[in-house]
Amino acid sequence: MFHVAGSGERAILSSAITSAAAFIFGFAIAMAAAGPSAVAQTSTPQTPTQQTPTEQAPTQTPKPVAAQPPAPPKDATPAEVLDDKDVETVLGREIYSIAGEDMGRIVDVLVDHKGNIRAAIIDFGGFLGVGSRKLAVDWRAIQFNPDRAILSLTRDQVRVAPEYKDGEPVVILGPGSPAAAKPPHPQQTQQNAKPAATAPAK
């Protein structure tokens, strides 16, 4: 009864003791983080040079001062409106190879200190959560099509990569990395060229 082979309870238990403190404070922190972080995204004042608002939300400009249209009034929040078909979330997104193989899901994204997106962390392989591996793949190797996200690497190319771990050197698999040294398919290089040129996909 205590021994259910392969059951997840013990994997789940693994970090139980170390997180005793987190148990006490975590709830409050997480609750606090949920709200303000969303606000922070829109309310953080950005330098006007970086920002090029294409469309101003009409509600955001309360006084028609008209003298300086590009610079928003002091009390208004700079904002931009996009069609939700043009953007998408990446967390939890299923990702496939060109041949249609299941490559797992995107669970995290790595950025450098300039804010450039470098890699996606994918949770790859396994059965019901047993035996899956977290791997870092080059952001430019992913193409975000409207229907599915496609990684220009195959299962065979990514499976031997060292697992991504916090606090350790990151091996990013990608079009140019030696870890994926196998000669790419001609079809694949075609696919690579496009996302490599402009990082965020269409």
């Binding site: 009864m1 205590f2 021994h3 259910v4 082979a5 392969g6 059951s7 997840g8 309870e9 013990r10 994997a11 789940i12 238990l13 693994s14 970090s15 139980a16 003791i17 170390t18 997180s19 005793a20 987190a22 148990f23 975590g26 709830f27 997480a30 609750m31 949920a34 979330t89 967390l91 939890g92 193989e101 899901r105 669970v107 995290d108 962390i121 949770d123 790859f124 392989g125 396994g126 059965f127 019901l128 959560g129 047993v130 035996g131 899956s132 591996r133 195959t154 299962r155 065979d156 499976r159 031997v160 697992e163 771990k165």
Partner: protein, 406 residues
């Protein structure tokens, strides 16, 4: 002791009650499998960050570690094990619904605590209902049957979840889990409440002139301490084996890894289903020690085979050894505890105590093996686990007395 035995224990449980217990255990194993490592898969699909998922898993682990002994004590105090189990099952079904309907932080945290708390009650409650139905004289074969139905349930659930998750969605898994609440409760209701003797279920004595065993006397009982240590050692060596091997399989074989891992989960369940009734019968004939040594002896062998296997497909066959260990321990852990706690009235608290030791061993195991395999190699990790398992085997040999009543 023998006189009391004949006076109180001539239980004649009906076929209906016994079949009810069979199927209750089967469906419950189905329900519980949904809350395994699959939670991480589901929450990832629900756009959770890895930090939040890790936090939820830690909370779940902590509750099931700290809740075992209070859960056991609660079942000892309960006058109706059946009602205690029913409440716990409803809690788990409710948790599954919350998971499926509201994968947001606060509801999921609540549901995780609820389900792992309910599990702390259910584990001892099943042992208590069994003992209450059949009494000490027939508990061995009964626990063999329990283990058979539990592993059949887990095997079916793993296969079913794989299919459901593949063809539908990971959310569908939790909806099915919640729906399984219905047959679980129907099966539980088939167990006649009048046939579950509460005194017998707590391993208590009928005569009122002998008071219940004190908490500390039980805690300091040498065979119970030794047995808890044995189980902690076993899990310390065992718990990390399959997750580590699964990760290696994913690394070695891209296309077959998923199928192989699924086979590695299901094969031991089938072995347990086939073997455990035999274990239950032999435990009365041979005694407990030979079978314990069989279960503990299969583990170091499996560790060594994992360390030196040239081919991941062979691991599926090595998992037969996992089934042998699981069949032996699945029957003998509650059986030996029932032996030790006999006439104390604290059977369920003792189950909780050993359960805590199992949990501690398991939680240290995955961290330890993960560390060794990262900094040295996975082979070193398996060899270290083999050393611990060998030590566990000799610990049983030296420290564990035969507990079969004469």
């Amino acid at each position: 002791m023998l006189v009391m035995e004949t006076k109180t224990n001539a239980p004649q449980p009906s076929r209906r009650s016994l079949a009810g217990l069979d199927w209750f255990i089967f469906f419950l194993a189905d329900v519980q499998t949904g809350f395994g490592p699959f939670v991480a898969v589901y929450l990832t699909a629900a756009q959770w960050t890895q930090q939040d998922i890790g936090f939820i898993l830690s909370v779940t682990g902590l509750v099931s570690l700290l809740g075992r002994m209070p859960g056991g004590a609660l079942v000892d105090a309960a006058r109706s094990e059946r009602n205690a189990a029913a409440i716990a099952v409803v809690c788990i079904g409710l948790s599954a619904l919350i998971f499926a309907a509201m994968p947001a932080f606060a509801p999921v945290l609540f549901a995780s605590i609820l389900s792992s708390g309910a599990n702390c009650i259910l584990a001892p409650a099943i042992g208590a209902i069994s003992l209450g139905l059949v009494g000490h004289a027939l508990i061995g074969p009964r626990l063999g049957r329990n283990a058979r139905f539990a592993s059949l349930g887990t095997g079916f659930a793993a296969a079913g979840m794989g299919i459901t998750g593949y063809f539908f969605s990971s959310r569908a898994v939790f909806i099915v889990t919640a729906l399984l609440l219905v047959p679980t409760l129907i099966a539980l209701s088939q167990i006649r409440a009048t046939e579950v003797d509460p005194v017998r279920a707590h391993s208590g004595v009928a005569s009122p002139d002998r008071p219940d065993y004190g908490l500390f006397r039980l805690a300091l009982n040498p065979p119970l301490l030794a047995f808890a240590a044995c189980n902690a050692l076993f899990q310390l060596a065992n718990a990390a084996m399959l997750p580590l091997m699964g990760s290696i399989m994913t690394m070695r074989s891209a296309n077959w890894a998923t199928v192989l891992i699924a086979a590695c989960i299901i094969v031991p369940q089938l072995v347990v289903a086939a073997l455990s009734p035999w274990v239950g019968r032999q435990a009365d004939r041979w005694g407990r020690r030979p079978l314990l040594l069989l279960g503990f002896g299969a583990l170091p062998l499996r560790c060594l085979l994992f360390a030196y296997t040239p081919e991941p497909t062979l691991v599926v066959f090595f998992q037969i050894l996992d089934g042998i260990s699981a069949a032996a321990l699945g029957v003998l852990v509650p059986l030996v505890i029932a032996d030790i706690a006999r006439d104390t009235g604290r059977f369920n608290l003792a189950q909780g105590a050993v359960g805590t030791a199992v949990g501690v061993g398991a939680s240290v195991s995955t961290s330890f093996a993960g560390y060794v395999s990262d900094h040295y190699s996975s082979q070193t990790a398996f060899l270290d686990l083999a050393a611990i398992a060998t030590f566990g085997f000799f610990f049983v040999l030296v420290a564990m007395p035969e507990t079969r009543p004469r």
